[in-house]
Subunit: 406 residues, 2 copies
Amino acid sequence: MANFDLMRQLARTKGGKIFLLVMDGLGGLPMTPNGLTELETAKTPNMDRLAKEGSLGATIPVRRGITPGSGPAHLGLFGYDPVEYQIGRGILSALGVGLDVKTGDVAARGNFCTVDENGIVTDRRAGRIATDKAMERVEILRQIQIPGVEVEVEIEKEYRFVVVMRGESLSHHLADTDPQVEGKKPFPVAPLQQDPTTARTVRLFEQWVDEAFKRLQGHEPANGVLLRGFATDPNLPKYNDVYKLNAACVAVYPMYKGVSQLVGMQIIDTQGLETPAEEFGKVAEIWKDFDFVFCHIKKTDSYAEDGKFDEKVHLIEQVDAALPTILDLKPDVVMITGDHSTPAKLKSHSWHPVPLLLWAPATHMPDHAEAFGERACYNGALGQLPAYDVMQLALAHALRLDKFGA
Amino acid sequence: MANFDLMRQLARTKGGKIFLLVMDGLGGLPMTPNGLTELETAKTPNMDRLAKEGSLGATIPVRRGITPGSGPAHLGLFGYDPVEYQIGRGILSALGVGLDVKTGDVAARGNFCTVDENGIVTDRRAGRIATDKAMERVEILRQIQIPGVEVEVEIEKEYRFVVVMRGESLSHHLADTDPQVEGKKPFPVAPLQQDPTTARTVRLFEQWVDEAFKRLQGHEPANGVLLRGFATDPNLPKYNDVYKLNAACVAVYPMYKGVSQLVGMQIIDTQGLETPAEEFGKVAEIWKDFDFVFCHIKKTDSYAEDGKFDEKVHLIEQVDAALPTILDLKPDVVMITGDHSTPAKLKSHSWHPVPLLLWAPATHMPDHAEAFGERACYNGALGQLPAYDVMQLALAHALRLDKFGA
């Protein structure tokens, strides 16, 4: 992973300004044997110009052959080896929806589900219940009182919610109750380690889950709950400490705000923003206040997960068309990449190295690339590199690192 | 870093002969967006032929994005991970000027400086006083007697000197007295850890520094001293042990001799040598006595630090023109590289990967390269690799490593 001791020792508080653009699931595959990928297909004159002037490379998000979820993929890109820093989904979701989670609090991701009269899960997603209908059930869950602790529940989206428990002596070492398949009962709340604190927390969550099932009776399709990803604040090293960066996150989806908050970025209010152009407009608005802005585009991934090659291409083109808004800010370093690959061909995240474009006119080394695309990236000047090295490169090109040794 | 346990296990005492040429700060950048680097600009028919026949690559001196000083950069190239082996500048300077430093002795780098009547540093380099004038002050410092220890002082160059303290129970865990900026008083000698040995060494160096200031009074511009890089012999694994190499160093500048001595190379007397051709002549003279010769060319870096693109180009051309002297020796392996990049455009060391040429006619894999240059190296057969892997490659191509396992 990024060597945080080295970073703390070498990072300067002054230097160039960095823009990191992440198109979620950017990397792709050709749909036909001799075809082009989504990125290679997209008409991207702005990114192609940056690629010609700057350096390309390809990142390995976790390890070769490992397909990451979005949480670990972003942590990696932010400099934290996701194998070393394994972070429960609960904390990411909780922070994403704006719940406060301190070290010692326990957050879990929840699903509304449908259970039959025998308690068997018949639909893990409660028929993908609409957000407003799910919100009615969240209101019911909020009525549950557990003596000795405070419990907060918040809707995430559709059937997904987050629950946070706060109090003295809690443990997050609990196993998921989500059986991951239909046709089974939910698992009981169970300890992942044997100690009094964990045993006590098991009993508290048991009470809460029992009460939830009781109160949701008759509220089909959402008449049950499944919990997973129990976690607390992992106390990650923060950007202002390790990188000496005053950093901001412009992201629309909750999880990305969560992981950005964990590394110490300031989360910018993005309510109402939808298009890449609108997100870039927000970046422009806050640009003067930060050394580093991370901007996240979600729908490249969403389209690819649905196998929508052309829609992913079109979205990349929209990002490219909006890019002048960013370039007008005169950033010293622009890095454009994805958190992982999501080839429309596979309809899922994948392990393929992710295209990376580094443009830093004062310091970049041009390579042979004529355009931004997977094949050019695989042979770029930056080579293939672990994602967790990207931030060190960004800082170097922003002239924000002192020399190591005499 | 190079796996020394593996090396000890596999290295043979016999095999081919290796020549390692380091042009300090070799890597560069184009001065204009579509331009060529220093190395790409230089007319280097000999190196281009070797590049065509052999393999190119690019080394990462420390970690991606990290700019090394020359000490750590050379250690890395010699196979020692510079992050693991952090070595004080004092020991490198002391060995470089021929002072003996054993484990337990303490060496520090010194600057002559100018202080005003209030003890404020007004010039950290004493007006870059000439070497012969500085030598007069060194003679004054040599008169200082500190009871219980022996102190040796030697001039390095201009305002730079080295001081070595020898005696029972000394500690090198001392903080720099150099405030690094003008307008401040020198820092007092201070301990970096709390123990009686360090406390005693603080008092001994305090006495020496106080006495130095007294005796230099009136000797403006060099009327004070600043110390930094307190260090002792770190007892590095030696080349004859780990690599089974009888190795020699042909370098003109003291620091490079210092780091070579630390890894167990024999330091060749280079007094009076100035040009690359003269250094190569010395290599030819000693060639038959060694398995491995490291030759260091300094001025590629010096010119680049001054922003002198054309002079750096010209020096690379001089090296190329002199190269037949080396090739006539029929080395089995020739490696040509830099310790780090120093682009004239940046006028400083940088983090960019460093061009590497490997020529070993019996074993090398040719790639597509037509000439020796950054872009060809970034896409060469050796890929991008940590500098500390270079020695393993050199040994392999010299057929000096046994097979690992049956």
